[in-house]
Amino acid sequence: MPYIPHTDADVKMMLDTIGVNDIEDLFDEIPRSLRCQPMDKIPQGISEMQAAQLLGKCAQQDVRSLCFIGAGAYEHHIPAAVWDITSRGEFMTAYTPYQAEASQGTLQVVYEYQTMMASLMGMDVSNASLYDGASAMAEAVLMAIRANRRSKSHVVLVAGSLHPNYRKVAHTIVANQGIELVEIPFDGTGGHINVASLQQYSGQDIAALVIPQPNFFGVLEDVDILTDWAHAQNALVIGVVNPIAMSLLKEPGQWGTDGADIVCGEGQPLGVPLASGGPYFGFMCCKQKFVRQLPGRIVGRTVDSEGKLGFTLTLQAREQHIRRSKATSNICTNQGLAVTAATIHMSLLGAEGIKQVALASHANCKLLSQHLAELTGVDVIFNRHYFHEIAVRLPKPVASTLAKLAQQGIQAGYDLSADYPELGQALLICTTETKSAEAIKTFCQALADSII
């Protein structure tokens, strides 16, 4: 029997011990009337070999192409060592480290992760992960409302230049608690939040301001000015950042005079494959003073009964299994394995390596924009500094252009026209270090051909 080790003799002995005649007797507390029929719509079982053939066919249908889509998920080189080690049974098949003494491997990994992530963000502390970037941002909003002692407001300002799906997820998650997410429109020329558009909120009671860096268009926000403005309103600042970019761009802890208060984002670029959208992981860091409002697991270093250093889950009194309805969040299972991968990934690349990835990704995007400048009818939409991703306007409908390029095995970018109709036929294109100069040329040539 697949995955079941019992022999007939075992079953008989076990039933005898229990004192019943057959396994069916063990279900005798379930009302007869509720018992269900055989699950006929589920196919019959197959062998591992047959499954390999079946899934092999599915995999073939997922066409492998030259991908210039970014939009929140980024194709970076992942050292083979990362998942080779992450996939070891001891990491992969362990549970959440409730028994600290039997889980020092996982716990130390998380402690190292927290250290790396806090440092990358320039923040004091980090949690052990949330589900993904979008849900992490929603948790950040809830946390800001709890943490901001100077505000009674349930209003949070959110940059309209933030990833549309992040705004949607945040809405799904926070709206039931009566929290209002107010969208700040972005500047039509720069693609960033112009501080002028915030002036109407000056003096109002605002719980927090959410600032992306870079924003959804790849454009760089004036994080210093925005941070200082928010702090002047007694609002907390929530940064939503790309962790690769943070090796290069000013870290949230240094934004404005006092730095961001909470930082979150999508951890995927740090060693997690694109994988159709997940599992990724959301990261979250904050200032020390807010640590008791931080959702999710946190690992602390302590000593054992002999004085030896060791690691354990800590501050559990914030969590649902202790605090129940008063917990900082309902999160229980997080994205531990992806965090393990990210920790190994950051260790292999180091600060210098991640910076090189950022630089090479960005240099490729500059190269791309130079090539695009030669195409008549294709315009870069925003005139501000950017990081490794740009929005362009096409002379033809984006949808049909994308379809044409898809036929040539090119995924040309993310169609902005549904989320931002005001931008016209706009396409968001991303390059990482994985795109060679040759690939960029191929892409631009194909784009040129498709818009003739």
Partner: protein, 482 residues
């Protein structure tokens, strides 16, 4: 040793980064970072060795029996992991066009169909990324339902006192007040108390059945009627589905919405904390509120249902499509087992639990519900031992580690004092159970004759008993160079 202690300025795993192109950097310095983050500077061998050694410090399914109640730590098939990790799946961008994604989409659709059959519910959304997110989605759907009917006075969700902590926490995140329902002495919900509590303010109830007490609530039909008559809806916490797969379906019990933990019943590995996946299945009343995105089928081709297709949806739960890799794993697992295999899961999980319960009782452990059948798990209480022998459940749990077994869940559910919640799962052999029984029996001896040995446990782990109080008081959450 920490990886940072291996670090030395200027060291690199040089093959892992592209050549820098710093000369081309056009970003003005006001946007740039001034100081380098503290990431380790180590060689590739140092990294491999460090993390390989760390891995060896973990207990895991692949190395140890792991009877952690409520967690369903069963074998995570390697074949499933392999097939879900095919390069084509790993390399696909979540926003890749549907024409480039038919393989993944067909698998996700296939899982939706399978889960419909298993739950007895007409519609499924796969995107919630863990059980708790599934709970949130389910309760948010209940709220959307009442709202759509203008039924806005319903501001309470009922939750049994034995429920998992995520239940009340999720209800609160949806803006509800939580009312606790007591448990009767037989382990079922105290139905008389429930009758007192239910009313026009009741939005719904969250139930786990079999409950986290390791028993199946025999009066589920009555409860269901009671709630529905009061205008409330029933939420099913599917974390314990392993106990009833193919035996009874939440839809048939009267539930309106359910989440499933793919990382429990469907054997996807738990990764030392995650990721999981918490699909939500809904009955006719709630199907239209399911979160987006879901997978639809048109003739032979599959596509993403968008917000336009689902105007009443509670909306998105994740930036993309949820934990696709876990979805794939669950699908493959279901295909491998097939209908017969899935059916057997509950049978053997239940057989193992009842056998273990019986044997532990025989060697002298006290059961929380000795008159009841175990489901896929059951509870031992050390209440008496704690009083007479001054050895508590936590200490017994630690001592088990020395015997090479992961501890059961301790101190949950909260209402059973000094409890051990034990879940063997169907993939463990009788021999393994017998070894566990022998270890427990020997610990019982120790409690009587060498209690200090148990109180000071563990003795054979990489560290001795850790000081949790110090950890919480003198917070040390990130490493600082001396």
């Amino acid at each position: 040793m920490l990886i940072f202690e291996d670090s030395k300025p200027g060291r690199r795993a040089a093959l892992q980064a592209p050549q820098a192109q710093a000369d081309t950097l056009d970003i003005p310095s006001e946007f740039l970072r001034a100081s380098k983050p503290c990431l380790p500077e180590v060689s590739e061998l140092q990294v491999v060795r460090h993390f390989t050694r760390l891995a060896q410090k973990n207990f895991s399914i692949d190395t140890h029996f792991y009877p952690l109640g409520s967690c369903t730590m069963k074998y995570n098939p390697r074949g499933v992991h392999r097939l879900a990790s095919l390069p084509a799946f790993l390399e696909r961008h979540p926003l890749a066009p549907d024409v480039h994604s038919q393989g993944y989409l067909s698998c996700a659709y296939g899982l939706q169909e399978i889960l419909k059959e298993i739950t007895g519910m007409p519609a499924v959304a796969l995107s919630p990324m863990a059980g708790a997110q599934g709970e949130f989605a389910g309760v948010a759907m209940i709220r959307a339902y009442h709202n759509s009917r203008g039924d806005k006075q319903r501001n309470e969700i009922l939750v049994p006192d034995a429920a998992h902590g995520t239940n009340p926490a999720s209800a609160v995140m949806c803006g509800y007040k939580v009312r606790e329902i007591p448990t009767a002495s037989d382990g079922d919900v105290d139905i008389e108390a429930l009758k007192q509590i239910v009313g026009p303010q009741t939005a719904g109830i969250m139930l786990t059945n079999p409950s986290t007490l390791g028993v199946f609530d025999r009066r589920i039909e009555e409860i269901s009627q009671l709630i529905h008559q009061a205008g409330g809806l029933l939420y099913y916490d599917g974390a314990n589905l392993n106990a009833i797969l193919g035996k009874v379906r939440p839809g048939d019990m009267g539930f309106d919405v359910i989440h499933l933990n793919l990382h429990k019943t469907f054997a996807t590995p738990h990764g030392g904390g995650g990721p999981g996946c918490g699909p939500v299945a809904a009955g006719p009343r709630l199907a239209e509120y399911l979160p987006t995105p879901r997978v639809g089928k048109d003739g032979d081709s599959f596509y993403w249902l968008t917000e336009q297709d689902c105007p009443h949806s509670i909306g998105r739960m994740s930036a993309f499509m949820g934990n696709a890799g876990i979805i794939l794993r669950a699908y493959i697992y279901c295909r491998l087992l097939g209908r017969e295999g899935l059916h057997r899961v509950a049978e053997y999980a239940t057989l193992n639990a009842n056998y273990l319960m019986k044997c532990l009782a025989e060697v002298g452990f006290e059961l929380a519900f000795p008159e009841r059948r175990a489901t896929h798990e059951f509870i031992v209480t050390l209440k008496k031992a704690a009083k007479t022998l001054k050895v508590n459940a936590m200490e017994v749990a630690k001592r088990l580690l020395d015997y090479g077994f992961h501890a059961p869940t301790t101190y949950f559910p909260l209402l059973i004092p000094e409890c051990l919640l034990i879940e063997p799962t169907e993939t463990e052999s009788k021999e393994e159970l017998d070894r566990f029984i022998a270890a427990m029996s020997s610990i019982l001896e120790e409690m009587q004759h060498e209690p200090e040995l148990v109180r000071q446990a563990p003795h054979t782990m990489p560290v001795h008993r850790l000081d949790d109080v110090k950890a919480a008081k003198e917070l040390d959450l990130v490493w600082q160079a001396e």
